[in-house]
């Protein structure tokens, strides 16, 4: 990894400061900050923008963190010499996150992407200390400083399409759902899957197993086996390993890939996958830092903006494929929102009137099931 001159200087300053008295250190630090600010203003070819990523899992998970890392690689490809990148993987949420983020801020990163919900408070704390650095936090809602932006994707749009496919393909009329944690994002997905399935088969059932992990191949495989033993013949997952896909292959049923195209782990098994494509967003935001046009925002993009992409529809008859493509097109064009009434809650009370569309605020805090989900939401 090539270091820039500024980076080296900042390191030198910071290295000396520890040995001196406080006031001296403050002077030097403010000099260093001023130097960094100056260099930001007059960005030249030799002073690259440094973009940094913090992942909650290993980049080899072939799921969530892997997919964020693909975004980093796309930034490298698209912006080439203008940008320098770095990343930390498997950063635990909690006290360690704050240190990891601060280390990045101090090592000369100009923009830092913190890619897991649990990094929210740490991101905001460090952002307060480094007003010159831009922070982008995925899937959270706190923006306590002007240099913190948040971003998220409407993965549940893809779940809706999956639900339609599942109801068409299933013989038993029951699908299995391996869920990670009962947070709104996951509940949104389960409900969207259910709603999609109900458009085909109003009596369709979804069984849910909570794995209480984002990435644990063993637990995920166990969950898949338990679901198959209960008679489901299609599996979808909101966890990150490829284990459920492999179990589904062994037992000869169909499954959906998660976060990334898992077709090579189940060539005869995968129907489609929801692919998180963070690349366009990352390129756009890093470019904004290079151009000096970066501004705080809160975005929740989906299929329309290209953040949520469906992997090729495979292992299904043409009529199902056609229906899936139509559903996808309807959502992608913005014509249809999966959360459009009439929708009844699991307890039988009315949630959305016919034609009524749920607002984003409600969806981002969703903590109840819609009618038909065969599970009690842990809370």
């Amino acid at each position: 990894m090539v270091k820039t001159k500024d980076y080296e200087n900042a390191r030198k300053y910071a290295g000396n400061s520890g040995k001196r008295i406080t006031s001296m250190k403050k002077t030097i630090l403010s000099l260093a900050v001023a130097a960094a600010a100056l260099s930001l203003g007059t960005m030249s070819a030799e002073a690259k923008v440094k973009a940094c990523w913090i992942y909650v899992g290993p980049i080899g998970d072939f799921g969530y963190s892997y997919q964020h890392h693909q975004g980093l690689l796309e930034v490298q490809k698209e912006l080439g010499d203008q940008v320098e990148t770095a990343y930390l993987e498997s950063v635990p949420e909690g006290a360690d996150a704050e240190r990891a983020i601060e280390r990045f801020a101090r090592s000369g990163c100009n923009i830092i992407f913190t890619t897991s919900f649990g990094f929210m408070d740490a991101t905001n704390k460090v952002a307060g200390k480094f007003p010159e650095v831009k922070f982008e936090h995925a899937t959270g809602y706190k923006r306590e400083h002007p240099n913190v932006a948040t971003y998220n994707s409407k993965f549940h749009e893809g779940r809706y399409v999956q639900g339609v496919i599942a109801a068409k393909m299933s013989k038993t009329g029951v699908a299995g759902y391996i869920a990670s944690f009962p947070i709104p994002e996951v509940v949104l997905g389960i409900n969207a899957f259910m709603l999609g399935a109900q458009t085909v088969n109003p009596d369709f059932k979804v069984k849910v197993v909570w794995a209480n992990t984002w990435f644990d191949a063993g637990k995920e495989a166990d969950a898949a086996k338990a679901l198959i033993d209960q008679g489901v013949d299609i599996i979808t997952q909101h966890t990150d390993s490829t284990a459920p896909m492999q179990v589904a292959t062994e037992r000869g049923i169909k499954a959906f890939g998660q976060a990334t195209d898992m077709i090579k782990f189940g060539p005869q098994t995968q129907l489609t996958a929801i692919v998180d494509d963070w690349g366009p967003y990352y390129v756009k935001r890093v470019k904004a830092v290079i151009d000096g046009t970066w501004e705080q925002h809160d975005v929740w993009d989906g299929m329309k903006e290209g953040n949520v992409v469906m992997a090729p529809y495979t292992n299904m008859p043409d009529d199902v494929k056609k229906l899936a493509e139509e559903t996808e097109a309807k959502i992608k064009s913005g014509e249809f929102n999966p959360y459009t009434g009439p929708i009844t809650k699991q307890d039988g009370t009315e949630w959305l009137k016919p034609g009524e569309v749920a607002d984003n605020g409600t969806l981002l805090g969703l903590n109840f099931y819609v009618k038909g989900v065969d599970d009690k939401l842990p809370q």
Partner: protein
């Protein structure tokens, strides 16, 4: 051919003292080989690993944050291990301490006074000690294996915390995400020197605990009792010491210290309860306890070394792009060499041909 370990008639005092340093040196050499195999310059890598995190003041503060829970827990564990009680459940005692300590700021957020923080710390200690009391009671009453019971209670504690932060203790303003409300200002463990970094008083607690434990073990009758009962329960009985009271004492102390570490971590470094609050401190502290040769003063040094390996792992990841797995490989090598050195100081290796010898053979290790 067989390999046997034969007890040495005499143990070298010099090598016993040098053992952790030899282990450290061997780890460095093995680490350098590992880095060369990964295609990195080993000197660069070791520099980023062990020197870079020590060059800046904020980073030293981070070192103290990371070392504090390791030292606190390991000091308690040393008393357990010295008295031959195998408490593997410090992780669970850490979590329960964090939970009981958080009762006030989470359930009664309107109580705001300076008295809250001391109460939280005391409740954390009590919670951890009470949780440690369970395997102790099971051992003394029903003669259960404390390794199993204390370990299994870790999972119970983790799931209990998970249930709390998703259910009854979930932040009402938190958009349904699994975390408690943020602690108010009176419930936050203050930073020692805020202008320099964010290290909190947890590190001071760790140092005090280590000093008190050292004094007890080396200067007080209780410390003698711990060691006698650990090395020879029979001799301890002749001395009038009660083995079952020692079990309970050791578990209460180590549970209490783990609980203090838990509430210090939550109120100091995190500021709220979340589904996971420890990246395995309770287990890493076992390495720290042995690396420190079960001596509380040695444990301070060992805790700092292990904390450094976490920080160095990050620095190396950023600077030379090695995987985070290297950190764990490093820690594994460190424990391996420590145990290896200790074993070889107490035993020598003998290769035995197919005609078996009858000798004093030990299958155990340090």
């Amino acid at each position: 051919m067989r390999i046997e370990l034969v007890k040495r008639p005499q143990q070298s005092a010099l090598y016993s003292a040098l053992s952790p340093f030899i282990a450290l040196a061997l780890t460095l050499i093995a680490g350098a080989i590992m880095f060369s195999l990964l295609g990195k310059n080993p000197l660069d890598a070791l520099y980023y690993y062990f020197v870079d995190p020590l060059r800046e003041m904020w980073s030293l503060h981070e070192l103290a944050i990371k070392a504090a829970p390791l030292i606190l827990i390991a000091v308690g564990l040393s008393i357990c291990f010295l008295s031959n009680n195998w408490n593997i459940g410090a992780e669970g005692q850490f979590i329960i301490g964090a939970i009981t300590g958080s009762i006030l700021p989470v359930m009664y957020p309107d109580l705001q006074s300076w008295i809250i923080l001391p109460l939280m710390l005391i409740m954390g200690v009590i919670g951890g000690a009470a949780y440690g009391f369970i395997p102790a009671l099971l051992k003394t009453r029903f003669n259960t294996n404390e390794i199993l019971t204390s370990l299994m209670l870790v999972y119970v504690a983790q799931l209990f915390l998970d249930w709390l932060v998703r259910g009854p203790w979930r932040n009402p303003q938190g958009m349904n995400f699994p975390e408690t409300r943020n602690f108010h200002q009176y419930a936050i463990l203050p930073e020692i020197w805020p202008s320099m970094g964010r290290a909190n008083w947890g590190f001071v607690f760790a140092l005090v605990a280590a000093l008190v434990a050292w004094f007890m073990l080396s200067r007080m009758l209780k410390g003698f009792e711990v060691k006698v009962l650990g090395q020879s329960p029979r001799a301890g009985r002749f001395g009038g010491f009660s083995a079952s009271r020692m079990v309970i004492f050791a578990f209460l102390v180590s549970g209490g210290l783990a609980g203090l570490a838990g509430i210090s971590e939550v109120s100091g470094a995190i500021g709220q309860l979340r589904p996971t609050i420890s990246p395995g401190y309770g287990f890493a502290a076992i390495i720290v306890a042995f690396l420190g040769r079960l001596n509380p003063l040695g444990i301070i040094a060992a805790g700092l070394v292990l904390a450094l390996s976490y920080l160095g792992g990050e620095a190396a990841q950023i600077s030379i792009g090695v995987s985070d797995k290297v950190v764990r490989a490093f820690q594994g090598m460190l424990l391996f060499f420590v145990l290896g050195c200790d074993t070889l100081i107490h035993y020598r290796v003998r290769f035995v041909g197919s005609t078996a010898h009858k000798a004093e053979v030990s299958h155990g290790n340090a």
